[in-house]
């Protein structure tokens, strides 16, 4: 393994190969590995994506740069993959709601969102979100998109990974960028949920 320098792709393939051999031999199951990965999945993202979204909410010029070229704008935060895949941010508006999927595997903007949740990789989500996005959002995620809003589903590939810039919740005036970032959820950047509401001023 240490004989020559491996590319990232070669190492990723080697890890995948090792996993498939160990599963074939009955030494472990994918579920057992997923279970351990889940413990650590928050070590990478989605707090990075949340920072980017908070900046975009606060700074209209940055928002423009982000929509223009997300990979470049994220580089301002030192966020980016080594593989150089392009990231594209699709912005929600009053008329359009965006949601991302990888119809064939699990391509995901991991530099900003970390590792994908298990349901993102499951065939049920991958197939149904394309066929009946509104219904899946409502029934599986409890997220109602009004009929007056168009839903667009974006299919990520290994070359181009989409993620969603959610609309800011109401009542965020005067919040710092850090406070804003704490409202941005992973699901809101996938498009299957809304950002959290800010704590109401009278509540504390």
């Amino acid at each position: 393994m240490s004989e020559h320098v491996h590319t990232n792709e070669e190492i990723a393939a080697r890890v995948k190969a090792l996993e498939s051999i160990l599963i074939d031999k009955g030494i472990m199951t994918t579920a057992a590995i997923d279970r351990l990965v889940e413990i650590y999945e928050n070590e990478v993202g989605p707090q990075l994506g949340a920072k980017v979204v908070a900046r975009a909410w606060k700074d209209p010029a940055f928002r423009e740069r982000l929509i223009e070229d997300a990979s470049k704008a994220c580089a301002e935060f030192n966020i980016g993959g080594l593989q150089g895949e392009d990231m594209v941010v699709v912005a929600n508006t009053a008329d359009v709601h965006n949601v991302i999927v990888c119809t064939l595997c699990s391509c995901y903007p991991w530099p900003v969102l970390g590792l994908p949740p298990n349901w993102y990789k499951e065939p049920a989500y991958r197939a149904r979100i394309v066929k009946e996005p509104r219904k899946v959002l409502r029934e599986d995620f409890g997220y109602d998109v009004p009929d007056s809003v168009e839903v667009r589903v974006w299919d990520s590939s290994s070359e181009m990974r989409y993620w969603v810039l959610p609309e800011p919740p109401a009542g965020i005036d005067g919040l710092s960028e850090e406070e804003l970032a704490s409202l941005v959820t992973r699901d809101s950047m996938i498009g299957v949920g809304a950002p959290a509401a800010p704590p109401s001023p009278g509540a504390s």
Partner: protein, 140 residues
């Protein structure tokens, strides 16, 4: 969506504590300092713990193997300033070594399987960017 499958927070906390107790003794693996920068790293990390959990080796064997891999790299005359350093490459090497030691794996077997993985595109059309939404549910 998978509410029934997802372990509750307490169980997750316990599992994490057990893993961290193992990792705390590793070189460069103090709790809270496990930074993953690539998805394969977290996968390799989880596999080593899973193989240990299924009794494939003693954790101390894996630990020694990791120390040995790092030592060899350091003594290989490489310049740490210019050579890329990857903790998890050593982690993977250590895992391969202990599994080979228990007769579960051979280097040629893994090389072969890696070639197969590399030769299989995840999907032929999926290498290309999809520039338009794959589905649109229009507003009424």
């Amino acid at each position: 969506m998978s509410a029934g499958v997802r372990p509750d927070a307490t169980e997750l906390g316990d599992a994490r504590r057990r893993v961290e107790a193992l990792v705390a003794q590793m070189p460069g693996g103090r709790p809270g300092e496990l930074a993953f920068s690539e998805p394969w790293e977290i996968r390799a990390f989880a596999m080593a713990v899973a193989a240990y959990n299924s009794g494939m080796y003693e954790w101390s064997e894996f630990q020694l193997s990791l120390i040995e891999s790092i030592r060899q790299w350091e003594q290989g005359g490489r310049d740490p300033d210019t050579e890329p350093w990857s903790y998890y490459e050593h982690w993977l090497t250590a895992l391969e070594t202990v599994l080979a030691g228990s007769g579960l794996l051979s280097e040629s077997m893994l090389d072969e399987r890696t070639k197969v993985v590399l030769a299989t595109p995840r999907d032929a059309s999926h290498q290309h960017a999809h520039l338009d939404p794959v589905a649109v549910d229009p507003a009424i």
